[in-house]
Symmetry: D2
Subunit: 342 residues, 4 copies
């Protein structure tokens, strides 16, 4: 049998590790051959392919990005999208499709699988770690590691100048990166999209930190918002996801802190460096295991399913269920880390 | 109430993060005060203490090691050990003891708690990740990261000289570090203590890798053993745990590979660098949450329990149960990664 | 004799290494004692001090920032500035002052030394590496390392999405960080303040890179400017030096590239992470040797001098000379690396 | 013209950066074409080649090792070695040869160039930094960085257990890696091959460090020797250069320290990890500039010369001179860092 592979959405460290594992096990254990579809759903939609074989995947384990490219193409919005995909799968004699992606990419896979009988297996990918049904997604640990190292570095600058440093990290709808890197980096305030923040409370924490003769670090997720609708929107720049950003919460917040506390504040927007480069050991492990189990699911004919991490086990869940709702930070967990604020 | 804290056994990145979390939450939420006992069980046994307060734990989150020292002292083997501990706890008015350690340290805590009614709460610590009842222990992710980075580096040397590189990593009884770092580092052979290895099979994998025009990396856990009792023991050197090592499996294996395949082979023994230095973001997160939940257990009067990771939740389990058996690598998991051998 | 030490200007990895070396050698070899003046020239101006001794400098070698604080205070602009400094030096019985800083801080030291006979020795500090009379300054290697690692990471994101990635690095008047990190990171375009750039030429290089089926990375120094005065200024945000920035050349350039080439372009502004955190081994070596030689200069009574790196030797040069002109990138050197553009 | 390139001796981070620079500039500026000779002098001796072109060198800048392989083959010891080389150069129509290597590899180039008129240009490569006529060689900064990071990590283990940690680093004849990493890592004793050490003095420093309530780190170069011929040789293991090691000075020293001071001591032998993996930014810069200047030398017909770093300039020196004597650590420089011992 020939198996197709595609990667959709924003790139994420570990994509290549998934591809390598799928191909290695598929060829060696199941005697499959492989074809890569380029740039996410654009590949099967337009019939753009790239060869995939064991030699093609050698050496890619430690490399960030995806060797088969990615895009945000949604084939369900394209004219005759489903028919064109089916035609291209037939044309390339593809019997099953492993789709590696986030909510959008997997949502298409769920529809194609459940409604049109196209043989799809899903592998979850979201650097924000906001897909329900899996404990973690690969790429997240790498992003948290990069953000934590940056926060470690910023502490010494903050201390030397007794300034507030506001660090804006990824997280449009879910605050996982902010929460983990903020905690690991010893931040004094962590703000997440799940809970609107009160600038006065932030300033109180900042002031309390200065009273202890230390300089505060404020970690704020890109998607965090103040409670009182007071944030003036700025347009034009782009966020870490490649979308035009409506607001730079980090810069806005630094100015508010300066204005209200009289202390100097600076902003660092980590941006795209959080999503590139070599994956952490944890992410290589997780991505590889996802790949191995995804090709097992293909072999079992278990379509419409997504692999997921449950404790230390890889399990399978219906894609449709897994993408039905976002996994956000539980208020209880956010409260737990609040002991370190201020 | 005054709470005592001690850290026992080999040091491990994240110990300081646990201590900091215990003290921060204990002081701020429960109004406890704290005392550190120096060098594991030696502290309460001999009454050696160190002050612990919020200022004392500032800045220690990213630092490896333990600010209160560690040792392998077993008070149950000391004359009147239990009585001396009880006397010292009384003398310092300590109402509860948080014991951070591995099998040995926690085994003592279980006995003191279950048999003598001394108020102990446990926090699991083993760089080898071999404590059952918890998905992961802190320090393990850091060790795996360091080993993976070393393997990444050794690949280029192996390739440039077309040599076999044998990397000996920690793991006396359990192969978790070898398994995770070997997989993450793209090793061509991974050998663990749980399964005796066949040198001929290792040589077959090595030869197969050379046939693909690449140089092989062999990752071997310190405690791995050949199948046929053929390993000649060497004495004198010390292993990564600080014990005299009975055998240097890495060096022995490299020589066997050279002898049998005719290819040059070199050994690198990673040793103590795996256990020192700043903890990874994952380990800081896990260690901090362990600390927060351990002090909650103290507050709940839930003694004789150990905090543990279960998926993404921190739960409590009886210490005695958790230390009853070693968590080793499941044969099915080892088989799963075997697809990358050769 | 008592020796005063101060650190002025923006913080820089290696400042603590200098302080430690001065104190270690001063105490052990010359039997001096020490006093730290807080926050650059504010310390001697206002008489704000901090104790400095061997125990105080233990463990600070790997730590970024400065334990005695920094500021941009210029005492020559303060009322009776020189007299107040002299009074405070007398009051604290300080016989010599080691001043660690950049053009501004050292300029004051030169004036105080040459015109007022105050015993100053200088240690050069500029993360931008733009002080003449020394081959390198500490902090620069660390900044280049951080920027290079970021560029390494951004390559994979650029490739996965076939986008242009513009990376804005430090360098207001001199392009050393851009030049070194751009070359080390394999950038396809490097733009420096010393030479106004032609956006059409930049777009030609970008297009040429895409033709080779690869995605371009453009490294631009904060202070680089287009040739034709076409850059629209934006106000409000702050640069990596903590000043209000008049223009965000990175964001502006990405938009121009998008507009002219039709390719997607994203910007990453590295900002303050370039100047914080643990110094590289090279910077620790250089900073330590600067410190050792600075205290030798004090001992020799060689005031008005600055230590400098010349090849592998530490030499002394008149501070006044060393700060007289900026060390910028030579056109020949810039031309040399141009072979990698496009 | 066609230019040949070879890399000889032990691998070293930066070799690929040199090759890439040579090819990029050679093709683009001078219209040369290229051929790689495999495995050092074995390539031209046996006529084993590999294609070298701009596409072949894409992406290799950050990769350790050498894409054209290396060996320690000495063609002057082979039968008709010179004639066979000349024949192969003729056969492949190679007009000039860039030889990248250390003392041995370049020594051959000097002989071939000076005595046989074969057109060779040299690029110095020694991870030990022990080639005279150049301030630094690439690879050295990477090795020092890896060793420093290891020492940073070992400090926390030493402190937690109040043990001596002996770290054995590369350096058979010259102590540059020990000196730089020991200083940067804050070691308490540094031992180099240039000066025989007195074990009693080492123990005195160790004891003095413990008296200050800290645990000592002893950095020892592989080639360091005790003063009194008292070291018992051990055979069998291999050193970081791939040679059978006659002595493991690190393990021997740890045992002596334990015996004489009664303190626990452990050894870590860093080994091959020091020479593999991605080069530091500094090494990429230096290696690239060496490559650019080497191909300029070819273009100028300036054969028998080697490129070298002099301050921040790349200069040319006669190969024969440059390889005539080893660059060892100056006693004055070693004395300078002695202030940190104990």
């Amino acid at each position: 049998m020939r198996v197709g592979v595609l990667t959709g959405g924003g790139d994420c460290p570990g994509l290549n590790a998934v591809i390598r594992a799928i191909v290695r096990k598929g060829v060696q254990e199941y005697d499959y051959d492989f074809i890569g579809f380029r740039d996410g759903w654009r590949g099967p939609l337009e019939g753009v392919t790239v060869p995939l074989s064991i030699p093609a995947v050698r050496g890619i384990l430690p490399r960030g990005g995806t060797i088969i490219g990615s895009s945000r193409t949604n084939p369900l919005k394209a004219e005759h999208g489903v028919r064109r995909i089916r035609d291209n799968l037939d044309r390339y004699e593809v019997g099953a499709l492993v789709t590696i992606g986030g909510e959008d990419t997997l949502g298409v896979a769920a529809t194609l699988s459940d409604e049109y009988g196209i043989h799809c297996v899903g592998v979850p990918k979201t650097i924000d770690n906001d897909l329900s049904a899996t404990d973690y997604t690969f790429g997240f640990d790498t992003a948290v590691g990069i953000a934590t190292e940056a926060i470690d570095r910023l502490h010494t600058t903050a201390e030397s100048h007794m300034r507030v440093l506001v660090v804006e990290v990824m997280g449009r709808h879910a605050g996982w990166i902010a929460l983990h890197s903020g905690l690991a980096g010893g931040a004094n305030v962590i703000l997440i999209p799940e809970q609107r923040f009160d600038v006065d409370q932030v300033c109180a924490w900042v002031t309390s930190r200065f009273r202890a003769s230390h300089a505060p670090i404020v970690v704020v997720a890109e998607g965090a918002m103040p409670a009182h609708g007071e944030m003036v929107l700025k347009d034009g720049s782009q966020d870490s996801y490649g979308h035009v950003r409506l607001s730079g919460v980090g810069e806005w917040l630094a100015k508010e802190i300066e204005r209200r506390t009289g202390k100097e504040a600076r902003t660092t927007v980590l941006g795209h460096v959080q999503r590139g480069g070599t994956p952490s050991a944890f992410d290589r492990w997780l991505a590889t295991r996802f790949g191995l189990h995804a090709i097992d699911a293909v072999h079992d004919g278990d379509f419409g399913k997504m692999v997921a991490l449950n404790g230390t086990d890889i399990v399978r869940v219906p894609i449709a269920e897994a993408t039905a709702r976002l996994k956000t930070v539980d208020p209880a967990l956010y409260a737990e880390v609040g002991v370190f604020f201020g």
